[in-house]
Assembly symmetry: D2
Homo-oligomer: 204 residues x 4
């Protein structure tokens, strides 16, 4: 898995940056200030965090380019509906013409015998895919044979309010390891950009 920040909300004019604050935190403070007709301040931002006025955090969004997450992780990720996804299409992808990648869960990788069985099976599935394609089965149907470990690339955009909600769910110990890793990477990226907004994360 690789997570790269592609884009994020910046102020239209750098003179709007509040001295001593990051550009992202400044944006949120400015939105709050206009609402309450006060001066932008870290204190008002903290109050919004604590008292649940979370809609102000929607003005700030982040776009990530993600490589090589499994199809199972993709299914979990896209359940979060308040976000925008542009996903590499398996219908039009022809894996006979491009590298085929897959994800191996840690619990499998650490058991030699399991690992061997797993790799053999995944590779065989790819070989059957190639043979189906040779027999003129369309890519969109041949992929039915591929395993759920198959890696996928996507671009997604989420605003800070929804990120907080997803952090609550997916950084928890109940979350599956792959999506938890994904959002730890995301948190590592966004926290330095908006330290006041994401101050409560990671939660203990």
């Amino acid at each position: 898995m690789e997570v790269r920040l592609l884009a994020f909300t910046k102020l239209a004019d750098s003179s709007l940056i509040i001295p001593g604050e990051t550009e992202c935190d400044s944006l949120v403070m400015r939105a709050i200030a206009q609402c309450y007709q006060t001066k932008p301040s870290p204190r008002a931002l903290r109050t919004c965090l604590l008292e649940g006025h979370h809609s102000v955090f929607e003005h700030l969004s982040f776009t990530f380019a993600v490589s090589d997450i499994s199809r199972t992780c993709l299914a979990q990720l896209t359940r979060h509906r308040l976000a925008s996804y542009t996903v590499e299409s398996q219908r039009y992808n022809d894996y006979t013409k491009k590298p085929y990648r897959y994800i191996v869960p840690e619990t499998i990788a650490q058991d030699k015998m399991s690992h061997k069985m797993f790799l053999k099976q995944i590779e065989q599935a790819k070989q059957v895919y190639d043979q189906l394609r040779k027999r003129n089965v369309p890519a969109q149907d041949a992929r039915f044979v591929l395993s759920e470990a198959t890696g996928v690339n996507l671009t997604f955009t989420m605003n800070a309010r929804e990120l907080m909600h997803v952090f609550d769910l997916r950084l928890s110990s109940f979350a599956q390891w792959e999506i938890r890793n994904l959002f730890y990477e995301v948190l590592k990226i966004v926290k330095p950009l908006a330290p006041r907004v994401f101050a409560p994360y990671p939660k203990k």
Copy 2:
């Protein structure tokens, strides 16, 4: 694939049904009438359809119980974010203890050789899954080896406005066969219930 209507919006009081109209069409006509302070009528409904006042169709929603669609079809379906999904969990499902089902694309089923390769591969994947489980790999990780053909059950709710939008996209000849079949089944169910609302569908 099986699609069954589980529930839908009905009037609180059957005396609100407009004579000669279905309960679903009556509901939409009543919502429109209150908005424009007129009497409920098929004509006002038709005007909303034609002139793009589609928000009135959101008051009417349908809940479907769907069995045995592939994981690839699920991925396409859940891209429609203005709907509610309750999906059978693969993390907690233990396929060693319950029947394992899968979907075979028509293009594969109709070629004897392709079909044979496909079935063999899918069954093998299931066997590796069973062995991984015996070696104490958790269900949520063992499933990485299963194919994308794996069948899944879910319940989903969509309102009539979003259904129209999805019909536009997924009944088209560009859509993949499985999701097209799914929404043809859906249309067959909703059209008799709301013949005026879904009058334009299927589009030629």
Copy 3:
């Protein structure tokens, strides 16, 4: 203010009602059961409530016909974006041809002097509206002179998950009295229909 239940989600087939349960609670239990492949039960519903698996409550929605809330209350209500609204149009309403109604806040009604000033002002605004209309000012512009106390009718649909969220915000003592009254009326209607779903409300 008058709040009337216009419609809500019912089971497609009354044989699906779980013995001893309401139709609405039964629907939610059935959606949960399919997800976890268990039998429908009040216990599973309670677990979803407590552990925050709230998406299952989205399958159940309610449609209300509301009369005579103020424009200020409408502004607060429509801030809840996960709902569907069909609002009486002020652009096309001609108040010279239909009754004009308005809402008087309790804090004003209980002070004789304030009440008198208030009524006089509201009535005058309506008279200026009438005169502007006579001078051929379009209804959509003449309404600029009307007060925010002006009553409005609307139909809105909200699912049970969003209702819970709105109850959390709007039944609180921090909420304004008018929207709090609105959602107390709503709660009175939905609670007997889905006693298990809304068991936690009103919160103390």
Copy 4:
């Protein structure tokens, strides 16, 4: 009315700008390219525009600070639910302590007699507000007497896909003048920033 661009999505690294293209157009092209595993190009962007693959435009969003739109315009604006709003609060605003502004429709301003009646009425409403406040009516209730012409400030964020949808509805000759003016101002701001994305606007 004043519309000012407060913030918008920029690339994380300016080396990602595609030569000869703006930063905003580059972002959209990069998202499309990752999806189809091709090189970023204006042609792919145009194809997405024409063929209705509009979800790629959601990665790009814009935040506006708006001053002095009427309460009626605010009501129309916030009907667009796929956006984020932070609105100056009338509940906590005390207009006895800050300037009170209002909007005069052109159809009223151009008729001397209508204009005079209108101004007198609006000013009187404000005077009654002040008197109610003196009699200890809370600001949240006193505002019921204020007219719908009352000016309001807000910050809102909308992505490019939703902006296109709103342009379709609100730049039309059927839209009311105030919200049409608002979105003409918005279009003037976003078009130079993303000329390829907004190429079809304004539609003739």
